[in-house]
């Protein structure tokens, strides 16, 4: 499967490997959408387990966006990973797996990564007016949006 995909996309697939028995692929953001579609339709990865991200502030392309897919017929998992810079967006997978809806909203909520084509991209765990993206590394562990807390909760501080 990997050889076939590599033949199709060439250097678009930067790395396809396995670590601790788990397969992963690092790909260019430009081919993510197409690749996910192929994985779902041709390679039978019919279940999107998770969409998440990792922040590396010292890198030029600060974010890893990770899709974890599973195939019921093959009983196999695969991770697709791409790297993007702050402010870049990635294509939404909602049209392929409905479950990506909330998962992408959570990534947006926590990292501020935008998903193109998401039907209703808004915060999910934090309140709508909140400022800042908590899972970024530059967001302190006890940091809060004091303005929001004061305006909405009627208290000086949440701490």
């Amino acid at each position: 499967m990997v050889a076939e995909l590599k033949g199709q996309y060439g250097s678009g697939i930067r790395e396809a490997n396995s670590y601790l028995g788990q397969n992963y692929m690092i790909v260019d953001p430009s081919i993510v959408s197409e690749l996910l579609q192929i994985l779902r339709d041709r390679e039978q990865f019919d279940y999107c387990v998770d969409v998440t991200a990792v922040h590396y502030p010292e890198r030029e392309k600060q974010f890893d966006v990770v899709w974890i897919l599973y195939s019921f017929p093959r009983n196999e998992r695969i991770r697709v990973k791409t790297m993007i810079a702050d402010g870049d967006s990635v294509p939404s997978a909602v049209s392929m797996w409905a479950t990506a809806n909330w998962l992408e909203r959570e990534v947006f909520d926590m990292f501020g990564i935008r998903f193109d084509g998401h039907p209703d991209l808004k915060r999910i765990l934090l309140p709508d007016g909140w400022k800042g993206y908590p899972l970024r590394k530059d967001y302190g562990i006890i940091q809060q949006d004091q303005e929001w807390v004061q305006a909405n909760l009627g208290i000086e501080s949440g701490q």
Binding site: D120, R123, L125
Partner: protein, 413 residues
């Protein structure tokens, strides 16, 4: 809204909706997932609002039937649900952020606070994920202890689900029965590790505690005690006419929809997918035991009930085999005092009582995880609520929230 009312009997709306869902369910490859999307566009004034009977009401976050602090905004036409939107996050504690600021060992007790009804499962998933990252394996005896406690916890979780779910629907007695019997499990936990709810039973590399004197005897006593009790629950509900009316053909989700929405656990199995991580990708010592995966056919609330009831019995089967065959030996693997997993990432998931519970851990080679992502089953399953209740009645929303078996501590983390 009550169950036995004459107008309730035919359920014309639910049935029509169900037929439509079935007819519109192509295989997942061609499924257009946009039809799952629900957002009520609350900020945009509806022009037809004044002329229609549409009504928007809030259910929760303090509504007792939402099992915690879930808020559901319902768009209604009379008693019929036109659409829903879940508002979550009231219990958000930033567990994933906390993980980045703790060592691997220090974060271990935090995972118990996510799905606090099945704390043992959370701990098992986390410990195994870190073990994988460290490339160590728990000794066989520890694995067996893990299986016994995790399955006991699955039983406790299902009992709590049954009691509260039945209570929501209007049957009060099962709550007392299930809590009475769940107590026996909590007693075993308490004797084993001193805690009843947030047990922190396992450590990275094995178990902290050896089984106490008489552990096997207690477990076997429980195994003999509980099957008649499960029959007792079933006597109350399985053929009860009110129960059938309230659960049959309510909250139907087709196989294709369930897969597209990433639903796992008993909810997925009730829709006819025979998939259980304990069998598909065995972890701990599960490959050593014989057990069946119960599945349903219709994907309705009743099937989810029968699947979970059967799962309880299968859990008992697993526990019995584990107790009888528990090997002697150490309970802790050789674990470095300061844990510094090599740079890399790992995803490990287990079959928690609610579905697939996954941990995605990224290590940068230091003593603290660089990132811990928890894939919570309740969060993903809750997303299916809209598909399951659209076209149904308000009373069905209560039944469906119950049947999804969500724990808000895990949804919001």
């Amino acid at each position: 809204m009550g169950a036995g009312q004459p107008g309730d009997r035919e359920r014309p709306i639910t049935m029509t909706d169900r037929t439509l869902t079935e007819a519109n369910t192509p295989d997942p490859k061609t499924a257009d997932s946009t039809r799952f999307l629900s957002h009520l566009e609350l900020d945009q004034p509806d022009k037809t609002f004044l002329d229609s009977n549409e009504l928007i009401i809030n259910m929760g976050p303090q509504h007792p039937a939402t099992h915690g602090v879930l808020r559901v905004i319902l768009k209604l036409d009379g008693e019929k649900v036109l659409g829903t939107e879940c508002v979550i996050g009231y219990l958000h504690r930033g567990v994933e952020k906390i993980a980045e600021n703790r060592t691997y060992t220090m974060f271990n007790p935090y995972v118990d606070r996510m799905d606090y009804v099945a704390a043992v499962s959370n701990g098992l998933g986390y410990c195994e994920a870190v073990e994988k990252l460290l490339n160590i394996e728990a000794p066989p005896r520890a694995k067996y202890i893990r299986v016994i406690l995790t399955e006991l916890n699955r039983l406790a979780s299902h009992q709590l689900w049954l009691g509260t779910h039945a209570l929501d629907i209007g049957a009060m007695t099962p709550l007392f029965y299930t809590f009475r019997d769940r107590e026996e499990i909590l007693k075993i936990f308490e004797k084993y590790c001193g805690a009843r709810l947030t047990t922190h039973a396992f450590r990275i590399g094995g178990c902290q505690y050896e089984t106490y004197e008489g552990f096997e005897r207690d477990v076997i006593k429980f195994l003999d005690f509980v099957p008649p009790k499960i029959d007792e629950y079933e006597e109350l509900l399985t053929t009860n006419r009110i129960w059938l009316e309230r659960t049959k053909n309510v909250g139907v989700i087709s196989r294709a929809d369930a897969i597209a929405l990433g639903v796992t656990g008993p909810v997925l199995r009730a829709s006819g997918v025979k998939w259980d991580l304990r069998k598909a990708q065995p972890y701990a010592a599960y490959s050593d035991f014989d057990f069946e995966i119960p599945i349903g056919a219709n994907g309705d609330t009743y099937d989810r009930y029968t699947v979970r009831m059967e799962e309880m019995r299968q859990s008992l089967r697993i526990i019995r085999q584990a107790v009888e065959r528990i090997p002697e030996g150490p309970i802790m693997a050789k674990v470095p005092k300061v844990m510094k997993p090599p740079v890399g990432e790992v995803y490990h998931s287990i079959e928690a009582p609610k579905g697939e519970l996954g941990y995605f851990i990224v290590s940068d080679g230091s003593t603290q995880p660089y990132r811990v992502r928890v894939r919570p089953p309740s969060f993903v399953n809750l997303q299916a609520l809209d598909v399951m209740v659209r076209g149904a009645l308000v009373a069905d929303v209560i039944a469906v929230i119950g049947t999804l078996d969500i724990v808000l501590g895990e949804v919001d983390r």
